[in-house]
Symmetry: C2
Subunit: 254 residues, 2 copies
């Protein structure tokens, strides 16, 4: 454990950082996952480290989409398991989604550490753990195309928080509706997904759980309306504009 | 070693990432250093992953400042040692600066790994390695204020690539002229330094070496003119505007 002075103006961000570092020490997070978190930190900083109005819209659309899904699956990687294991399980119960461990940098030991963390936090069924059930998505590099034939392979809606662009594209090509959390509104994942929540997953997941609970009482028709009224490209542009406005304010330029 | 598909559109950035990961494996880079690199990647992406016109001006001013210095020191941390050990030594020879190992997250084993790498790359004298020569900068948390009494403590100009805001401020308070490399034009380090080179250090350091060589032939007076004509605040604003323009272009918004 390193020493973070409380006086440091970025102490909050440094504490989240330590959470990832701790996840790394427990074998959940890949080294590349620490770098990915750093990129996220930068975009979060530019977004003002709060949930934007646009992100709230995306969260609402995601909740409606998940409630309408027949076979929703939430894909879990090391960073998610380190940052919000409890919340991701709570979400899976709320929307009756399966959990599938699916890693960008595949590693059996790390996978086992992630499974252990999920179980400790109350997960019952975890897919992506039995190689007898492995199958492949077409159109993606071999090392990263493995999915569970009872999970992502047959899913209609897949939540892929903090995902790589190649895999997001492969999921779309396979006909899946993709929901992602990505702090970079310009990333390929953001641009490729059906619904992109441009927010820090540690903030947004709680809001998604609450929204799913609220919308669960709504009729099928009003859920459909929320989904069809949502425009992901427009939403992403709103987030880019937010970043631009924040840059202007911070740099005190016209 | 992980597998990076050549087809990946961010292969170049992923390869630099692997360089840091390799530096981590060799014990040079702290876990927090991987996260810091990630933040840098995000800002580099927003800057267009090339040296801006503003950065070129800052490099010129930095070269002039270093050539005018009486006791210049280059501060070395793990990320710098992993990313560009050869170049930093080449720069120190060009401008007759001392090298001082100075870590944010202090760790003796890591310090030794950094010293080993610097020596392997041709460094003769390395300060910050003998605790008998340690002294303290005032006005900064205890763990991070240690400097070498023959190095940073008596320096007039200090180059601190990829530095923390607290330490940059402590150096300024101690009367030092501070030159930094920082990809975030809004960071406290960027805003506090006398000259901020908003560029990827792996690109900018070669340019700084070349510029130092070129300006070494100039008279004292023209170096002074370059320094007094340089306005760091204005330069940082130019970099923010560049980011804003890149965001507009990429998001195809007005």
């Amino acid at each position: 454990m390193t020493l973070i002075p409380k006086s440091h103006p970025r102490a909050k961000s440094l504490l989240i950082r330590e959470k990832l570092v701790s996840g790394f020490d427990k074998g959940l997070v890949a080294k590349e996952g620490l770098l990915a978190q750093g990129r996220g930190e930068a975009f979060d900083y530019l977004l003002g480290e709060k949930t934007t109005k646009a992100a709230k819209h995306a969260i609402k659309a995601a909740a409606a989409q998940l409630l309408q899904a027949q076979r929703p699956v939430i894909s879990i990687n090391g960073n998610i398991a380190a940052l919000c294991p409890k919340e991701v399980i709570k979400l899976s119960k709320q929307i009756k989604a399966k959990l599938e461990v699916n890693l960008f940098y595949s590693n059996e030991k790390r996978k086992q550490a992630i499974i252990k963390t999920l179980k400790k936090n109350g997960a019952k069924e975890i897919l992506g753990t039995n190689s007898a059930n492995s199958t492949r998505l077409p159109g993606i590099d071999s090392a990263r195309r493995v999915v569970d034939k009872n999970g992502i392979f047959v899913a209609d809606v897949v939540v892929v928080p903090l995902e790589d662009g190649d895999r997001t594209m492969a999921l779309r090509n396979a006909g899946k509706t993709v929901i992602t959390f990505d702090l970079n509104p310009l990333s390929r994942t953001s641009q490729t997904a059906n619904i992109t929540i441009v927010d820090n997953v540690t903030r947004a997941i709680e809001l998604l759980i609450a929204e799913s609970k609220r919308l669960a009482k709504k009729k099928e028709k009003s859920l459909e309306k929320i989904i069809t009224n949502f425009d992901n490209k427009k939403n992403l542009t709103e987030n880019v504009i937010q970043i631009k406005n924040n840059l202007t304010r911070r740099a005190r330029i016209a």
